[in-house]
Symmetry: C2
Subunit: 202 residues, 2 copies
DNA sequence: CGAGTCGTTGAACGGAATCAATCGTCGTGG
DNA sequence: CCACGACGATTGATTCCGTTCAACGACTCG
């Protein structure tokens, strides 16, 4: 679910505020009253739960174009800390108008359900991808899933490094495997684009 | 989201039918009219997309106590095949009454949103877990997240083999690491139970 | 112009997968 | 009732491949 999609549910955008956070700054703390859910414009935020022994446990790392703390919509308090791990720009979505909207507009509720259902599906496919051990197969699987079915082309909006993170690979491994795949004529690379050529080779 | 949670949204449970499927039997096919979403009582189902070249691509593997095809709630057709990969018992949740209910009852909509939001959160933490490379750390992280905060105990409902799959580890690796952790006095094991003893060793 | 980041390649290591074998248990059917 | 098969749990040995550390060029941006 992107911040834009969530914004679109708000008729009155004046209610949405934006703020910048420095690295290591807290957006909220465990136990704080949960009045907002959040979207990241740029930067990175980690949701960290402090265990009973005081050890930090990262529950989730959110990056640009993602929302977080949606579950707080139905909780009076936050159950973890949200720490900016970068210079981060964040939109605040106030809970109350959103809940009111969902109460009064079945259509808005339906839209939110659709957004969440899609996100569930996306997360599941990402998880499934991680069950593939071989770097080569994981990359290919990802390409097959995300490239245009017609042209086999995938336009990269993010640097390869980020793609590596999404795939759960060291970026060096990704570079190497892409180079191999190109040598084997399975893909072709251009600036910001990867094209599947020989698609019979999984 | 469990089938029980979804069932609880239906006032008229007579609308819910159950069916058994043999291994390799299809629950639905890509392009079929999407009239149901599904819950698994027992067994396993794979959601498979057939690529343009005819190659099958596993999008998601659903197991007991999970629901699948929720995104079909807002799509007229299914976009992948659902294949039983085991003897599987499945509940059918008809879309129409569910959509009607969401339209007429803001409360039901709120509940479904809450279910989905929680599921999103769970999936994200599972995904985060997979970013941990070392088997030992991954297991410990999982235990810290799932064990009772008070007693440090975790009751296993599923065989260790399934836990290994959830962790993304070969089952042999899980056995070995658990044995090591017990030898190091970090955990203690009893029938169906794992207890965190020394919690200062992440 | 220098700092920072991305992209790239090389070398070495370590650790998890894999193959394999064994044991115990449970359920089933002859 | 017992034999058999299926499956979970466990341990050993080996292999392999992805991470890690390291170094370098290209490029951008202040």
């Amino acid at each position: 679910m992107t911040p834009e999609e969530l914004s679109s549910l708000f008729s009155n955008r004046a209610e949405l505020l934006e703020r910048n956070f420095a690295p290591d700054e807290a957006i909220f703390r465990q136990g704080d009253e949960a009045n907002y859910i959040y979207g990241i414009i740029s930067g990175r935020v980690q949701l960290v739960r402090i265990t009973s022994e005081g050890r930090p446990l990262v529950m989730f790392t959110a990056t640009a174009n993602e929302t977080f703390a949606e579950a707080a919509l139905f909780s009076p308090i936050y159950h973890c800390d949200a720490i900016s791990s970068d210079n981060t720009k964040i939109i605040f979505f106030p809970k109350k108008p959103l809940l009111d909207l969902l109460q009064s507009s079945p259509d808005a509720a339906r839209q939110l359900i659709a957004l969440l259902a899609r996100q569930v599906r996306d997360l599941r496919t990402r998880l499934e991808l991680r069950n593939i051990l071989s770097a080569k197969d994981r990359i290919l699987h990802f390409l097959y899933m995300n490239a245009s079915p017609l042209t086999g082309s995938l336009i990269l909006q993010a640097p390869l490094k980020e793609l590596a993170a999404e795939l759960g690979l060291a970026h060096e491994t990704l570079y190497r495997e892409l180079a191999k795949l190109e040598k084997e004529n399975i893909i072709q690379r251009r600036e910001n684009e990867i094209i599947l050529i020989n698609r019979d080779t999984i």
